[in-house]
Amino acid sequence: MRRVSNDRLTILAGTALAAALLLAPSTPSRADDAKTVTVGAILPITGFLSTLGPPERDAMQMGIEDINKVGGFEVGGQRYTLKLKVLDDESNPATVGVTAYRQLVDVDKVPVLVIAAGTRNYQALFRRSPLPVLNILDSTYPSILDVDKHVFLLRSDTPAYVPGTVWYLKNVLKKERIAFIGAGADPYSAGIETWVKKAAEEYGVKIVSVVNYPLNTTNFAPFIQAAMAEKPDAIYLGGVTQEVLPVAKQLFQSGIRDLPVVHNSGVTPTQAKQIIGDPLYNDVMANNYDFAGTLPETSDNPATKKFYKDFVTRFNQYPSDLTMWAYDTPFVLVGAMQKAGTVTDRDKIYQAMLGMPVPANTISGWIPADGGKLFHDRDAQTMSEGIGWCSDKKTIAPVFLYFMDGLKVTREKVVADACKDH
């Protein structure tokens, strides 16, 4: 038997590899129709943020369909329609997200990039190829707006809803001893913790214990024990839905049932039922209050009501606050492109976005900045809302509407008998 020498093997392997890679489908997927603009989005479809990505994708798809239904939009005398391309970052922006970023920005050449989490992870890439970036999720504090001047936030930031939560605890629920249990590794939770502390100091509420559990915790007993040691009269949970609900469930299972549990996660009844389990969820959620953006379900705007109905019919799921912002995203994009007079020039679209008005047909109830502009310093804002749970109907209902002016609660409206009206 003749042995094959290393050098021949090396060259053969090199040639084979080169050939394989060259033969790989290396032509990028060009826009098949010149009159179609791709809306490129990197969303967490799987991973620990997977309660957030899919509804955003679905709502964006609805917005795009509604725009295309009326024949698309016109820029520079040419009619365009939109198409959605969503890549999953698996809740892992630094590893999976950066590859998706290169695909959308460098290969698909999207004019504007829509992202959800991980804004900071893309900072170096923003600098290498700048383009306007619309974020429809990441309200982490410190704000992601200082990552890059091209970043816009299409939702209210953490300081716009966390202090109102503490205000409600103090003034409506009359609670003064709060225990904070946060997801230590999650920056969203850390931002909430910061603002809970600021608000508590402002309103004269005592934070009796702060406990943070590490990543991948599944048994919260020691953390619950540590938080309860200081005899709080209310519990504040930091984090997103998939972090908050298991803690709420284990609180209930440990016999802690009389204290109000507040959080800022945007839980829908569907998610509560799935994650906590039937029939337990109805009891667990009974003392829960959730403070974030307004829900489409509770809006008076007919367009928003229609969106709510359409969404529930189509996806058999309650839409969260995120879905309204996601639905509006293509409208914002179209507005910016129309104002810029181009669907390709990223810099012109960026400049147009800075001063654009609130676009027509949007449903989020945007509160405009001076001069009717959509963005206040690159942040578009809506009212905030606290929701409670109605055990008899196994659903949510708004208990508190508000808008933060610094640490001052304004435009507040406490709904006394939320479940009855609803």
């Binding site: 997977s50 406990v211 599944t218 048994n219 299972q253 389990g277 009891d283």
Partner: protein, 288 residues
């Protein structure tokens, strides 16, 4: 405070022990680090969930069905993969990781990645022990572990098959010379290990949530236990599981919660250096 921490520790320790005993059983007979056990737990939990919710079986029937699925899947991993690498200890971890990917992602494709809840009838109940409260699911976990360990002990000590498994675990070659059918013992121990995985799914699923990677993180803790107890040592795994649970529970309260897992890992590293054969073994078994 002290009692509550102890109670929490026993709950956590029972979980570790239940997981570790299954791992160490298969390690004993075949010397494979069976990471795929986490995948067996996942599939077993989804089977229970499917039977309970989609097929509308009563919870207890669903749990029983899930146990059988666990046993069958575990035997399949042995039949399809592990038996080919018995004599290649360094290939075993790679195969184990491959199997874990296969099982977890089968669950992902079949059932999606969302967290879902397995709800036994007692999911909302609480039991009070003096000043400490224990969720009923925690009590169920302790009970399951106690019964499973007792049953396993009786099986290993009192039955012919159990004694054969112990003999293979001591020395496979000698056991084969004595006329013990190795193939049969491999299958039986993987089946039992799968049943134990099913019990983890049954007892742990209701505590947190069912999702494709539900057991991956706790498996590492169980692995700490397996090594501390001495690879292949069932009694050692049971005792060390409880000890580790208590250590982590008290460590989280009195030292630092963020590095809770680190206590176990630190003890493990220390032990690998000082006593590579495990805490509870006088049989110096060096796996080379």
């Amino acid at each position: 405070m002290l009692i509550q921490a102890a109670v929490n520790g026993v709950v956590l320790g029972s979980l570790f022990a239940l997981l570790a005993v299954g791992l160490t059983l298969t390690y004993g007979v075949m010397e494979v680090p069976n990471f795929a056990q986490a995948g067996v737990i996942t599939l077993s939990a989804y089977a229970m969930l499917w039977l309970n919710q989609t097929a509308a079986c009563p919870f207890w029937i669903a749990a029983l069905g899930g146990l059988v699925v666990g046993g069958v899947v575990s035997v399949l991993t042995e039949r399809i993969a592990y038996r080919f690498v018995r004599t290649r200890p360094l290939a075993a971890p790679v195969v184990a990781l491959g199997l874990l990917l296969i099982l977890d992602n089968t669950a992902l494709i079949l059932f999606g990645g969302d967290h879902v809840s397995l709800s036994p009838p007692y999911a909302g109940d609480v039991i009070y022990v003096g000043s400490a409260s224990v969720p009923a699911v925690g009590v169920a976990l302790i009970g399951t572990t106690a019964v499973a360990l007792l049953a396993l002990w009786l099986f290993l000590q009192r039955t012919k098959t159990g004694r054969a498994i112990r003999a293979v675990s001591q020395n496979a070659e000698a056991a084969a010379i004595l006329g013990i059918r190795l193939e049969r013992q491999y299958i039986v121990s993987f089946f039992i290990s799968g049943i134990l995985a099913g019990l983890v799914a049954f007892a742990y699923g209701p505590m947190y949530a069912v999702y494709p990677y539900m057991a991956d993180a706790i498996l590492l803790n169980a692995f700490v236990v397996v090594v501390l107890g001495g690879l292949g040592n069932v009694a050692g795994a049971a005792v060390c599981g409880l000890l580790l649970g208590l250590l982590e529970s008290f460590g989280a309260i009195y030292v630092s919660a963020a590095y809770q897992n680190l206590f176990g890992f630190a003890v493990l590293l220390l032990m690998i250096v000082l006593r590579p054969a495990g805490l509870f073994t006088n049989r110096s078994r060096r796996v080379a």
